[in-house]
């Protein structure tokens, strides 16, 4: 018995058996909870509700992974991270995966040694302006004061865009979305720029959303997705294929409502996903119904989208690029076999 009571005490107080090194999957199973890094609060993607329960689109991915690995979608410890702390938290093993709208870029993948397991939201940086300004295109923004939420790739894109178009601007860097909103509404900046999804979420919270327009220009590619540490391929596979299972489930029409029926009567691919035929789960050390549990946790990709950020929610994002490939979008899950 290596773990002493005092260490046990420290565990409760703070010392937790870390999961650095290669065996994240085993560590998660032994611990019984998944440590998932999320944002400190972005409505629709990850934010605590009035009762302190985390909810949102990124949160849904965390819950799906927890359901696949541990069989319990509530066995997640959500660790709020800022732009500064997110990479260290992941690298040092404080969290097992990061599901915090983080853009997949070359240097993060290669230089910082992380592994992006896929894309759960295709985003791009946009601009929001008050309608009263009479601006209809981002090319008219010369000389504007721009509020930026720091800690993302937005500052770099913004600098590039204005430089390319020979325009000048005054950046106002702001730490949190709530404060950026306050600055923007008070007129301390003319434009608010962040990912288009974030703009929509912010606008939805306004008193008069109709007084503000999101400009048509999208100035960057922002593929947002969950990431894990480099070098632990087994764990990377688990997260990657959980995400793929959610996407594939939508493609094949598996929903949290009809999942049992589909497991019994679906086509062979569906049955393979849901574990009623073959045993894909055993290949990476999970039970056969891993994907079934992940989908049952919060529904398939489409359901998660509709529930958290879709058009019927205050955020009101359309699927756009995030539609299935069969419907003209970019979502394409590799085959399960």
């Amino acid at each position: 018995m290596k773990k002493t009571v005092i260490l046990g005490a420290l565990t409760a107080a703070g010392l937790s058996a870390g999961a650095a090194g290669a065996q994240t999957l085993d560590a998660v199973k032994e611990r019984g909870t998944l440590n998932c890094g999320v944002t400190t609060g972005l409505v629709g993607f990850a934010a605590p509700d009035a009762n302190g329960e985390w909810e949102g689109f990124d949160v849904g991915v965390c819950r799906a992974v927890a359901a696949a690995v541990l069989g319990d979608p509530t066995a997640v410890e959500f660790v709020p991270t800022t732009g500064k702390t997110r990479f260290t938290a992941l690298a040092s093993g404080e969290i097992d995966m990061l599901a915090r709208n983080t853009t997949w870029t070359f240097s993060r993948d290669v230089d910082l040694k992380f592994e992006f397991v896929g894309v759960n939201y295709y985003d791009g940086q946009g601009f929001m302006v008050p309608k009263a300004l009479g601006v209809s295109s981002a090319t008219e923004l010369n000389g504007a004061t721009v509020c930026i939420q720091t800690g993302t790739t937005t500052e770099l894109n913004l600098a590039d865009y204005f430089r390319n178009n020979n325009m000048e601007y005054t950046p106002v860097p702001i730490e949190t979305n709530a404060e950026a909103q306050q600055q923007y509404l008070a007129g301390a900046c003319d434009v608010y720029t962040t990912d288009a999804s974030g703009l929509a979420a912010t606008r939805a919270a306004f008193e008069a959303p109709a007084d503000h327009v999101v400009l048509p220009e999208i100035i960057s590619k922002e593929p947002l997705g969950p990431l894990v540490r480099h070098g632990d391929n087994d764990w990377g596979d688990v997260v990657r294929w959980t995400l793929n299972a959610l996407i594939a489930a939508e493609e094949y029409g598996i929903t949290s409502a009809n999942i049992d029926e589909m497991a019994a009567n679906g086509n062979p691919e569906v049955k393979r996903i849901l574990g009623s035929e073959g045993d894909l789960g055993a290949m990476f050390g999970l039970e056969a119904d891993w994907a079934k549990r992940a989908i049952a946790a919060g529904g398939n990709y489409g359901e998660l989208f509709a529930k958290n950020i879709g058009e019927s929610t205050p955020i009101g994002l359309s699927r756009g690029l995030n539609a299935q490939w069969t419907e003209g979008g970019l979502l394409y899950a590799p085959p399960f076999r």
Binding site: M1, V5, G8, A9, A12, G14, L15, G18, T88, G93
Partner: protein, 430 residues
């Protein structure tokens, strides 16, 4: 004689006049105002300026406060109720009261535990703060309090705090046995004994004996987090601060320089960079596989920070003691630990109490900085989840004012206590 007097002087009053009231300008309110408010032209101008400031403050704050809404589900509802009038939307305080105090993740059915720990804090601290009023036996409870508070706030098996306590008790017993031979032996023997006991009790294994539902420290937040960080770090940093101060005064050059470098380094960087170290860098310096959670890392860094400041306060006090005290201790044949324990430190600590209290108050205020490294303390709750929520987006004054008020009450109370204590402890004959 009366006759001659009557001849030489034309008129002499024979009887006392009744006492008269002083002139209107020399008594009561008028005199007070003349002396204190309108003594001369400059003074009168100052008075008028001050009056205007007060008038402006009252007229701008009062309607806002008087029209305040205490019951509404969201800021929009508040605005509807107010119908364009000026008024505060205090409903956010009543609705998010628990979150402001306990953070948003502490299980709501367990609020009684930190609340009880908070009440017991006063019971534990009272005999320390007011030594003369309370019986000395209550100090035993103060010594037990950290373990009780740990059990209440974090939960888990009661064995954990008991076994931890056991280690301290064993350490103390060994210390008491060995200290008669030499302080160093007692001190190190005590530490070794404590660790031996902790190592041995490790074989007891995990149990759920009398277990309260455990709560992870990352689920703690709100004002509770500020209070926890404040009390834990201040109480930990006092012994470290004393050790550092003694080290810096020491005649042994290596020990002295280690302490000097540590103190000057910590005092030279802002607390926020140390917190960045806690949140971003420290994890790399810990053994691979083990991972302190943010709360413990922050406690380590804030304790380092505070102990450097307390060390400087105590160093000042040590330097202020008359040299004769050191020489007297030497001439009695006391060795260094005895001289320190019996002669120097009791006096030095007494002098340094106001300074230590100042550091403690400053530290307690600085615990709000943890909001910058994504911990949800009181300020973090306000800037994060509450202002970001769709219901309360834009309620700044009420929330920030509430936070300011809460800190003001606590810090003002502490500094008033320190002033009282200073008078109480003053033994010089003035």
């Amino acid at each position: 004689m009366a006759d001659t007097h009557a001849h030489s002087v034309r008129f002499v009053r024979e009887s006392m006049l009744p006492e008269q009231e002083p002139p209107a300008a020399e008594r009561g309110v008028v005199k007070w105002m003349r002396l204190n408010l309108f003594a001369n032209v400059q003074n009168s101008i100052l008075t008028l300026i001050a009056l205007y400031c007060i008038y402006w403050l009252v007229t701008s704050v009062f309607p806002w406060f008087a029209n305040g809404i205490w019951d509404a589900p969201s800021i929009r509802a508040c605005r509807e109720i107010l119908e364009g009038q000026v008024g505060g939307c205090f409903a956010v305080l009543s609705e998010r009261w628990n979150q402001l105090l306990f953070g948003f993740q502490y299980p709501s059915e367990l609020y009684w535990r930190p609340a009880l720990a908070f009440v017991l804090l006063f019971v534990a601290v009272a005999p320390v703060l007011f030594r003369k009023v309370f019986p000395a036996q209550m100090l035993i409870f103060s010594a037990l309090y950290p373990f009780i508070a740990y059990y209440l706030i974090w939960g888990g098996s009661i064995l954990v705090p008991i076994l931890a306590l056991l280690g301290f008790v064993a350490g103390y017993i060994v210390y008491a046995r060995l200290v008669t031979q030499s302080f160093a032996m007692g001190f190190f023997g005590g530490i070794v004994a404590a660790f031996v006991v902790w190592w041995l009790t490790g074989f007891v294994g995990e149990s759920s004996f009398l277990a309260l539902e455990p709560v992870a420290s990352r689920n703690m937040g709100g004002f509770m987090l500020n209070l926890m960080l404040g009390t834990v770090c201040v109480s930990l940093s006092i012994p470290f601060g004393i050790a550092l101060a003694l080290g810096r005064q020491s005649s042994m050059p290596i020990i002295k320089w280690i302490c000097v470098i540590f103190i000057e380094f910590v005092r030279g960087v802002p607390l926020i960079t140390l917190l960045f170290v806690a949140s971003v860098v420290l994890a790399y310096f810990l053994p691979p596989g083990a991972n302190f959670d943010l709360f413990v890392r922050v406690v380590i860094m804030i304790t380092m920070f505070a102990s450097a400041y307390i060390a400087e306060v105590i160093r000042g006090a040590l330097a202020a003691l008359p040299k004769g005290q050191y020489e007297a201790a030497d001439s009695l044949g006391l060795d260094y630990p005895q001289a320190m324990r019996l002669i120097i430190l009791p006096q030095a600590l007494k002098i340094s109490i106001p300074g230590i209290v100042n550091v403690a108050v400053g530290l307690f205020k600085d615990t709000t900085l943890v909001s910058i490294i994504s911990m949800f303390d009181l300020v973090g709750m306000i800037r994060g989840p509450i202002l970001a929520s769709t219901e309360w987006n834009g309620v700044y004054w009420e929330l920030l004012g509430f936070a300011a008020l809460l800190f003001f009450v606590v810090c003002f109370g502490i500094s008033k206590y320190s002033q009282w204590l200073e008078k109480e402890l003053a033994t010089d004959h003035r």
